[in-house]
């Protein structure tokens, strides 16, 4: 769950937009494997939006973990068989999606532990010598468990790099006047990767 309301809305907008794009692309083009991939992306976006809001924290964990675990297996199959075309990123993107879906499964699984360590509040105190300039005093909770934080940090770094690579290619494709669905697809992958990174940042 994201505590900062602004950030929560930003993530919601990002995942609603990327989910909508994947749903649109699913109806417009692609092989069966690619359309299944798009559907899995839509499911992931819905789960991410739910994860960002307090109301979404009540969802059953195990089915989601199993679902995203199976999605990772699906993308592994796509990577092995080479069933994705260039517009969907090809084999390398399929490998990346294995990591992404596995990360989703992990996030859903550890979220209660991660959130449990984030309770605690801060107060406000006036800066000595500077009335009217309230500064929060420290009072943050102990944070997520160490193992969760380490994994979250490693995944965070991976998703930020992946997000930058996807966005970079999206810009270059857009400039080269490539097929709109291709550069928009890469842009959506980049936005999703950075969105995942943001969510992981809250756990790190």
């Amino acid at each position: 769950m994201i505590a900062a309301e602004g950030l929560r809305w930003i993530l919601t907008v990002v995942f609603v937009a990327t989910g909508a794009f994947c749903a649109y692309r699913c109806t417009r083009q692609g092989t069966v494997a690619e359309r299944v991939g798009d559907v899995l992306h839509v499911v992931m976006c819905v789960a991410m939006v739910a994860m960002a809001w307090p109301v979404g924290m009540g969802g059953a964990r195990l089915p989601q973990t199993v679902l995203f675990g199976l999605a990772a297996v699906w993308f592994a199959g796509v990577a092995v068989t080479g069933a994705a075309h260039a517009d969907h990123g090809g084999r390398r993107a399929a490998v990346y999606h294995v990591v992404m879906m596995a990360a989703m499964a992990w996030m859903v699984f550890v979220m209660p532990r991660a959130m449990g360590g984030m309770s605690g509040g801060g107060g406000m105190t006036e800066m000595p010598g500077h009335h009217g300039m309230a500064m929060p005093v420290s009072g943050v909770g102990g944070g997520a468990p160490a193992d969760v934080r380490v994994v979250a940090l490693v995944l965070l770094a991976a998703f930020v790099v992946a997000g930058l690579v996807f966005l970079s290619r999206a810009f270059d494709d857009a400039r080269a006047s490539g097929p709109p669905l291709r550069f928009l697809g890469r842009g959506a992958d980049g936005a999703m990767a950075l969105g995942m990174g943001l969510m992981l940042l809250t756990m790190a």
């Binding site: 930003i10 010598g129 929060p136 005093v137 420290s138 970079s168 999206a170 810009f171």
Partner: protein, 443 residues
């Protein structure tokens, strides 16, 4: 806000990205131009009101001489008696602090919170410490106990007396100032690699002045932008939140003591206990806010070396229950205190005021030169009345590997500085709309 003809031609959109400085320069030029034109008026207002604020302490010493100063004399009336005299004059007020005069010619300031006062404003009664006579009563502002004149200028500088809405102007100025400065700096340093073959035009001379002065000012303006943002409404909240997350908050002395009834050492007892413990210089003695709370005596020295130690004194026993030394602050808290005091012109006394004055005057000049250059670029024929801005599409020339990380950095900064982010987003949307509309017209 400075563009020369070669740069303008170079800014025409092309499909192929170029590597390095050549690809980034047109975008920086566009950012510097539009951001400069956009925040120039806000920066001008901030510079002029800031200039007035810098010298307000001297002005208030003269204007409020009767309240602030007393004839030197022997003997001192106890602080509790002075506070009681003042309290009788402000029956609806809550005593929040007493500041004994630091020298024998300064009055004691007895500070009250009073219903109806705006946040950070106080009601202060000025008492002659030698006779116990009241010298006057005034509404004061902030921790610096600004008199009404300085308080008025302070609020003008901060919000133009328009409340929270007015604070947007100073936040916009602070949010964009560092962008304008950094972009200008990059443009100027990049430009210096070239050599002009012909004699410089009047506009080129102006550009040289604009650039060289901006180069000298850069560090000072970045400092003012950073410290100004800590006061701002929205970015200030982000900075506070970030400091909390990083455990960089300013510590405060613990004022909790065991509840006891009966004896109270009073303001004088608390002051004497801390004096014996070495808490010298200008101080404020704050009475306990409730049972179970201590007297807090805090140093109010704002010039270098900063004296901001504070101690808590048990009202029942007069013993010091907690001490917080400025030396023990974390680095971020120290930097924050130093930064605020330097921004306000207090940290290094008169030299601080002189440097800020020079900075403000030079900033005003740089802004005026910027607008003047824009004016000189205007076409002398045809219907156009302003100089042509840098062409759209500069971002298209930047390779994705540069643009993508830059975009992410801008998004992160835009999140933490919401007015910067929202105004930039607004500009991009309007600019994109105009480009699409122009494309349709051309088609």
């Amino acid at each position: 806000m400075s563009i020369d003809e070669r740069e303008e031609r170079a800014a025409e959109p092309v499909a192929e990205p170029r590597a390095g400085w050549a690809s980034i320069r047109p975008l920086l030029l566009r950012v510097h131009f539009y951001a400069g034109v956009f925040v120039g008026p806000f920066l001008l207002v901030a510079a002029i009101t800031g200039l007035a604020y810098v010298w307000a302490p001297q002005a208030e010493q003269a204007v409020y001489d009767h309240e602030l100063h007393v004839p030197a004399a022997a003997g001192t009336v106890p602080l509790d008696q002075q506070a009681a005299t003042a309290r009788a004059l402000v029956p609806d007020g809550t005593l929040t602090g007493v500041r004994p005069g630091p020298t024998s010619t300064d009055s004691t300031q007895v500070i009250f919170d009073r219903p109806g006062l705006e946040p950070s404003f106080h009601w202060t009664v000025f008492v002659d410490p030698h006779t116990g006579d009241v010298r006057g009563q005034l509404e004061t502002y902030g921790s610096g106990q600004a008199m009404p004149l300085r308080g008025w200028i302070d609020v003008l500088h901060r919000s133009l007396h328009l409340g929270d809405f007015g604070r947007l102007y100073s936040e916009l100025a602070a949010s964009w100032l560092w962008v304008v400065v950094l972009a200008g700096l990059a443009l100027w340093l990049g430009r210096r690699r070239r050599k002009r073959a012909s004699a410089p035009s009047p506009r080129a001379k102006l550009l040289t002045w604009h650039g060289r002065t901006g180069l000298v000012l850069a560090i000072g303006l970045l400092f003012l932008s950073a410290t100004g943002l800590t006061w701002s409404q929205y970015a200030g909240d982000s900075i506070s939140e970030l400091r909390t997350q990083l455990d960089w908050t300013t510590p405060s002395v613990s004022a909790t003591v065991p509840v006891s009834s009966g004896r109270d050492v009073g303001l004088d007892g608390a002051r004497e206990a801390t004096l014996r413990a070495g808490l010298t210089g200008p101080v404020e003695v704050r009475p306990p806010a409730a049972p179970g709370q201590a007297y807090v005596v805090a140093q109010m020295g704002r010039s270098w070396p900063v004296q901001a130690d504070s101690m808590a004194v048990d009202p029942a026993t007069g013993t010091i229950t907690d001490t917080l030394r400025f030396a023990d602050y974390n680095l971020a808290a120290k930097l924050s205190t130093w930064g605020i005091d330097a921004h306000m012109g207090f940290l290094f006394g008169i030299w601080n005021q002189i440097v800020l004055t020079l900075l403000m005057v030079a900033l005003i000049a740089v802004i005026v030169w910027g607008y003047r250059m824009w004016w000189l670029r205007r076409p002398t024929r045809g219907e156009a009345r302003f100089g042509r801005p840098p062409a759209r599409g500069a971002w298209r020339r930047i390779p994705g590997r540069v643009l993508a990380p830059a975009l992410v950095v801008v998004a992160v900064v835009g999140y933490y500085l919401p007015l910067f982010g929202l105004s930039l987003l607004g500009f991009v949307l309007v600019d994109g709309f105009l480009e699409v509309r122009r494309g349709k017209v051309d088609a």
